[in-house]
């Protein structure tokens, strides 16, 4: 009975969404603000990756909110799963092959993550992607070694400092420039590593923050056994 009602309800919702979508032109050239961003990204932000220039510069305020959302999720997770006695992971040690290869892959993964967030303004990728890659590396270590522990104090400090850097860059725009999060550094030559003004700095901070936060989240979620 429930299934029938649910299917009927969803059929109605689906009909209306599709009906609205079929009215839209598909595959047309970008217009409106999208076209403006494509035309002026190099001139105004010195960044060749238009998506990055929108995420960090034109709509940088959204990204600050996004970083906050992730921070809140990590905090909320810690609050919900908080236990005075502390908890342990229940994973068994993996086989020797997995352990050895994880040990070899882990530093490379961290390096790749760092590459991705440093080059966020030049290639596809950025702080969030790079941070996620770093966290995957740590997840690999968590899975392979029962005893692998992260340094919580260090993670908290990295998280805080990275967040503070982001907001401070924003506030310095307010002090030396004209508005919050405004670029105050020279734009440089497009397509070089040192270009784009504050964009690489923000993405490096975001990369550190996301990497540390996702590691904390994974660590908290994996520790389910009362210890």
């Amino acid at each position: 009975m429930r299934k029938v009602i649910a299917i009927l309800l969803l059929a109605v919702v689906g009909y209306y969404i599709l009906g609205t979508l079929l009215n839209l032109p598909f595959g047309q050239k970008a217009t409106g603000v999208g076209k403006y961003y494509l035309d002026s990204t190099i001139k105004e932000t010195g960044t060749v990756n238009t998506v990055t220039s929108i995420v960090v510069s034109y709509r940088g305020f959204d990204t600050l909110g996004e970083v906050t959302v992730l921070f809140l999720a990590a905090t909320g997770l810690g609050a919900i799963l908080f236990d005075k006695k502390g908890k342990k992971r229940s994973l068994q040690n993996a086989s020797l092959i997995v352990k050895t290869s994880s040990k070899m892959i882990y530093p490379l993964t961290v390096l790749l993550g760092a590459y991705v967030f440093v080059h966020g303004h030049l290639t596809p990728g950025g702080g969030f992607q790079g941070g996620a890659i770093i966290a995957t590396g740590t997840l690999l270590m968590f899975m392979a070694y029962r005893s692998f522990e992260t340094n919580h104090t260090a993670l908290t400090i990295i998280e805080s400092l990275a967040g503070l850097t982001f907001v401070s860059i924003g506030i310095s725009g307010l002090i030396w420039g004209y508005s919050f999060l405004q670029n105050i550094l020279p734009l440089g030559t497009p397509n070089e590593l040192l270009s784009g003004g504050i964009i690489p700095l923000i993405y490096i901070a975001v990369g550190f923050k996301v990497g540390a936060e996702l590691t904390t989240v994974l660590d908290t979620l994996l520790k389910t056994i009362k210890g």
């Binding site: 970008a30 961003y37 995420v55 909110g65 999720a73 997770l77 919900i80 799963l81 596809p124 397509n191």
Partner: protein, 113 residues
Amino acid sequence: MIYFITSVVLILTGMYAVLVKKNLIKIVIGLSIIDSGVHLLMIAIGYVKNATAPIFSKPGLTADKMVDPVPQALVLTSIVIGLAVTAVALSLVIRLYDHHKTLDINKIRKLKW
């Protein structure tokens, strides 16, 4: 066009899972399927025929041969938000399992509808 239909199918599948399934983990999976559907829809809206990624990495690339970058930027934000919600949802599932020793919503009194 196929992108629009696929994304709507994904959204509806996720909603079906949330409405009908009894297992808490399956409900959370349903939530992430809805998210994926919306994200695919956003990318499809920015699609331009025969165009490339909006990155001026080589000389000779011009703006009118690129897809709309705004939906891609929005998707980035929305993915992170979806991830945050999933993480909080999973932590609540762990708490509920601690209290009830079950993942079946029929046995958890208040979650029945």
